[in-house]
């Protein structure tokens, strides 16, 4: 994986710094973050709250601009990548539009791109199939459980076939059982779409189970404190969570936190 990363980084950050100006103080949210993510790689940004992991994701998504440093996404700068629709994003809450049926929520990005209606409808059904929500096309978001809503949000992010999927703690509001099941489903979806995934989480086991590499961030100021390779074979299975290797990785990541 690291060999590929050296060749064509899909996402590249160089000395990225993010400062916020509040009324009382000048906050350094991220300090000198440099990292490369390879095409097709699944990486997690892991850390406690306040470490800047969500800020880092929002920088990649061009929802905010860094105060210093350089961000390249799919060979373009972050803004160009956003305008070229290179990535799909999934937020902590599903952010579905209440007035749209499930299928129309999923095809919203395609609608904005001017894709024909018949193609959109086909795509919606295909994606519902992919995320395991067959038969829910004509439901409204509020008729679905929290886990199902988040799956709709994933389907929506995948609808324009993005090269990169940015996910900001997408399962953190769900119960442990649903979260673990959705982790497994996400991996199976990923194996089919082959996009690069950047996954923000504060759960150590979740980051290990999903990722090729885990970027560990520490707070005050937010910074990259370690990069941990996850050598677990793929496809990953639920019972790997109980393997000694898994626990070893948990311990290693826990040790790599600084100043928490």
């Amino acid at each position: 994986m690291s060999l590929v990363a050296a060749k064509i980084p899909e996402i590249q950050l160089e000395h990225v710094e993010m400062r916020y100006q509040t009324e009382t103080a000048d906050v350094l949210a991220l300090h000198q973050v440099s990292l490369d993510i390879a095409k097709g790689e699944f990486v997690s940004l892991l850390g406690p709250s306040g470490c800047g992991k969500t800020t880092l994701l929002r920088l990649m998504a061009d929802l905010i601009t860094p105060t210093a440093g350089n961000i390249m996404v799919a060979g373009k700068n972050a803004k160009e990548a956003r305008l070229a629709q290179k990535y799909g994003i999934v937020f902590q809450s599903p952010v579905l539009y209440d007035w749209r049926k499930v299928k129309h929520n999923i095809t919203l990005p395609l609608e904005l791109l001017g894709v024909k209606k018949s193609i959109r409808e086909d795509k919606a059904l295909e994606l519902l199939d992919l995320v395991g929500l067959q038969g829910f096309a004509d439901k409204y978001p509020w008729q679905l459980s929290g886990g199902m809503q988040q799956r709709v949000a994933i389907a929506r992010a995948l609808s324009m076939e993005p090269e990169i999927l940015l996910m900001d703690e997408p399962f953190s509001a769900l119960d442990e059982f649903t979260r673990e099941r959705l982790n497994e489903e996400l991996l199976s979806v990923w194996s089919k779409v082959q996009s690069t995934i950047v996954f923000v989480t504060h759960s150590i086991p979740e980051s290990i189970f999903l990722s090729d590499r885990v970027f560990v961030l520490s707070p005050h100021p937010g910074r990259l404190s370690a990069v941990v390779d996850i050598p677990l074979p793929r496809p990953r299975t639920a019972d790997m969570r109980n393997s000694p290797e898994f626990f070893e990785l948990i311990a290693r990541i826990r040790d790599s936190f600084e100043g928490v």
Partner: protein
Amino acid sequence: MKLNRALMRNRALPLFVWICGLLVLWEAVSWWLLHVAKTPLAQSKLPYVHEVALTLWQYSGTLFREGGATFGNAGVGFLIGALSGVLLAVLMSLSRTIEQLAFPYAVASQMIPILGLAPIIYGIMRDEQLSRIIISGYITFFPVALNMLRGLRSVDPSALELMHSYAAKPWAVYWKLRFPAALPGLFSGLKIAAPLAVTGAILVELMGAQRGIGVIMLRNLYYGPSHTYMFWSTVLVGALLGMASYWLMSLVERLVAPWQPEFRPQGGSR
């Protein structure tokens, strides 16, 4: 569905009993005022319900025609007022400068008493229909603009970021996100404004007009005690027009924005 129907039955019965009780009480007090207390002008104070109902029935044609004239003008004014309210709300949501320029005047406009404004408008226009339309529109405009603006601003920040991440054009953000999200606000504005628009139209008619429910209301008030039942009938019709306008807005809301939490079936939420 079954649950829904049961609820309706449970709600309908108390309402029926309540209305019947009220009617009986009304008739009793009315009789007492007239025959026991022997109050002067007893029937003007609290007329027999059955007499008013009879008058309503006998003069239903006239009342319907005049009520229709009032309702029609109020409706046109309401539509114009609602449209300009929505337009101003959109402009204010687009630019803080426009909001700072326009908002104080919009508020100030609502400080002018309608009772004083109506004769001025009538004096300028010299046309009762036009005056009714203007006053109804004038009343409608403010609550609609205020509630619509609030709706446009109340959009979930993440929903906006989502649109931003799709590189959506500003008009698409309005059309596909801000407008639908503002509909509940818009309809609360419309539901406040609709009965007020009717009241406003009736008020203009009291200033001197040829047609409308307000005209026969005033006329029968002048005629005195002999026309008290007719006067009460016009008041009732005025109230009914106001209610009808509210119901109409509620109905349109159900058709246009049926996805709102309050329209969801009981126990059907996650």
